[in-house]
């Protein structure tokens, strides 16, 4: 084309192709537009928390939109939190409780899931039905009887009273049963014919093959225990035994309720460990290749 003047035919084609390109791009634009809007809706509280906690001058933290950028940034509020709240103590409690709970959930659920998946025994079907039914019933409702049990045992205000009621995870057993069922039968049968006992089969053959599901179980259990608020707040009376989710909440709705800066800084400190764990493990449950 030598000149910039187009024939009607050419210009029509030009417009059409542009419209086509636009029409093809529109769904994609809409996709990212919706996602962006939803992200803002989901994350604006957290963005506000971060920027306000980093503001040494809290004069601006209620003003939209200037609150979404720190005013005179600094770590003043974080220093005050660490000085006035036994944050390290809470953190150690949270870690200890969550790790012990997770390990024992796995130790109980893995052999039981294996038995349900691999061995036929009398009473299997009713037991499985019972497991599924308990999943359908709010577990909060068993807290009063459990509280009575523990107060009779004299274990109120002990770590064991926080941990023990959460150890029997019906969800964990069903998850592991599913994982073992999906393993290739031939490998297991071959090992059985070679004379491996059931425990050997579980430990050396089935468990290594079901590793991704075990990881899923560990992560879910850990996060759940880490975030649990109500039951620990009921059975724990002394402050030095409280995990983060309980201790921080009590401190920040009690003695420090008036200091917004401290509340927000403490919130960030409490969220960081959970986010860190999530960042390290997210490929297990969010990535597209989770199945492989």
């Amino acid at each position: 084309m030598s000149s910039t003047i187009l024939t009607p035919n050419q210009s029509l084609r030009c417009i059409l192709s542009r419209a086509q390109r636009l029409a093809r791009a529109t769904p994609e634009l809409a996709r990212y537009g919706i996602l962006l809007a939803m992200t803002m809706l989901t994350l604006f509280p957290l963005v506000w928390v971060v920027s306000s906690a980093l503001s040494t001058d809290t004069g601006n933290i209620w003003h939209f939109p200037s609150a979404f950028w720190p005013t005179r940034p600094g770590f003043f509020w974080f220093e005050r939190v660490l000085a006035e709240i036994p944050f390290g103590r809470y953190l150690i409690n949270s870690l200890g409780i969550a790790i012990i709970t997770t390990v024992f959930i796995a130790l109980l659920a893995i052999p039981c899931g294996y038995a349900f998946a691999m061995i036929n025994f009398r009473g299997k079907t009713p037991l499985l039905t019972l497991l599924v039914i308990t999943l359908m019933i709010p577990s909060e409702l068993s807290m009063i009887p459990n509280y009575l049990t523990f107060s009779r045992l004299g274990l109120i205000d002990s770590y064991s009273s926080v941990i023990i009621p959460n150890l029997a995870s019906a969800f964990g057993v069903l998850l592991m049963k599913q994982a073992f069922q999906d393993l290739p039968r031939e490998v297991l049968e071959a090992a059985r014919i070679d004379g491996a006992g059931e425990w050997q089969l579980l430990w050396h053959v089935a468990l290594p093959m079901a590793r991704p599901m075990v990881a899923t179980l560990l992560i879910f259990s850990f996060v759940q225990s880490w975030n649990d608020y109500f039951w620990p707040s009921v059975v724990l009376k002394s402050r030095e035994k409280m995990p983060l989710a309980v201790g921080i909440f009590h401190d920040l709705t009690g003695p420090f309720a008036v200091s917004t800066g401290m509340i927000l800084a403490a919130v960030i400190l409490a969220i960081i460990p959970a986010l860190l764990l999530f960042a390290l493990t997210q490929r297990f449950f969010i990535s597209r290749n989770a199945e492989n």
Binding site: T39, A67, C112, I119, I144, G195, D228, A245, V267, I286
Partner: protein, 296 residues
């Protein structure tokens, strides 16, 4: 299937440690609750007395606290369709292999890993009378700040605010369930449908939804139960004030403050039955032979 060398007792040995804890801390409380629902229980002396259906009659007549709690629990069920539709829509948007979608997945999941109590601390700041939401509303919509409600203390808005917090906290969880389910939709079927000229809506209706029917069932079931048991979310946001008390909160109030364990257990038993009933209904509607498989 005959399994030489495998004895039933192996299964029992392997299952018994779990079953022991399960029996003591999951099954026993349920049975104890059921038994308690028909008794008067005196904590101080430990005496119990069969009282027939008196506890249930007390519930039926208690229109100052129990009836509002039932109404609030029923309203809370409205979060189920909201959460399910948002989660499924997000999963559908995030499923393709496109740039940045992995990051979005992580962002939407963030509220799930934050403890309820910690998340509530944030939202209580946002929803204060002169909090962030009021400021945003005043700036963007030009509403007078005095006109904005006191979100968590006003009877008209408190329950809805808590429900919004509930959705914020849980959508990511169900999104991940749906993402996992969408992996299982056969690619070949989708391609065949496209070749046959099916548009996006038809592919959803005739290929995707039938394929993820088990996930829709599971996710809706779990969400319904978590809405009915909504308890911690309310406790940390309003403590049950401003007409936000639900049935689980009523149970605890009756037991811990009223020391009326029989009535609490009766309310708990009713809630359990409603949960099982709803689970059964959803099984009928969304299960193997339900609407998604048979067609609407």
């Amino acid at each position: 299937m005959a399994m030489p060398g495998v004895h039933q007792r192996h299964a029992w040995i392997m299952a018994s440690p779990f079953l022991l804890f399960f029996a003591v801390f999951t099954v026993w409380p349920l049975l104890f609750n059921g038994w308690l629902a028909f008794h008067d229980f005196h904590l101080r002396t430990g005496n119990t007395l069969w009282n027939g259906f008196a506890n249930f009659v007390a519930l039926a007549e208690d229109d100052s606290t129990f009836h509002p709690a039932v109404k609030n629990s029923a309203l809370f069920l409205l979060t189920v369709p909201v959460i399910q539709i948002c989660a499924l829509a997000l999963a559908l948007l995030l499923n393709p292999d496109k740039p940045l979608l992995g990051t979005f997945r992580v962002l939407f999941y963030t509220p799930v890993v934050i403890a309820i109590s910690i998340g509530a601390l944030v939202w209580r700041q946002i929803l204060m009378p002169d909090g962030m939401l009021t400021w945003i509303g005043a700036t963007l919509l030009g509403v007078d700040m005095q006109q904005m409600p006191d979100w968590l203390n006003d009877q008209r808005t408190a329950l809805w605010s808590v429900m919004a917090f509930f959705c914020w906290k849980h959508i990511g969880y169900y999104m991940v369930l749906y993402l996992a389910g969408l992996q299982a939709v056969p690619k070949t079927l989708l391609e065949a449908a496209t070749l046959d000229g099916a548009n996006y809506g038809m592919r959803l209706r005739h290929v995707v939804f039938p394929a993820i029917q088990p996930v829709i069932l599971l996710s809706t079931l779990l969400c319904t139960i978590s809405a009915l048991r909504a308890f911690q979310e309310i406790l940390v946001m309003t403590g049950g004030d401003a007409d936000t008390q639900t049935v689980p909160l009523y149970v605890f109030g009756a037991a811990i403050f009223g020391l009326n364990f029989g009535v609490a257990a009766a309310a708990a038993l009713l809630l359990t039955l409603v949960c099982l009933g709803l689970a059964w209904l959803q099984w009928k509607w969304l299960g193997e032979d339900g609407l998604l498989r048979r067609g609407l």
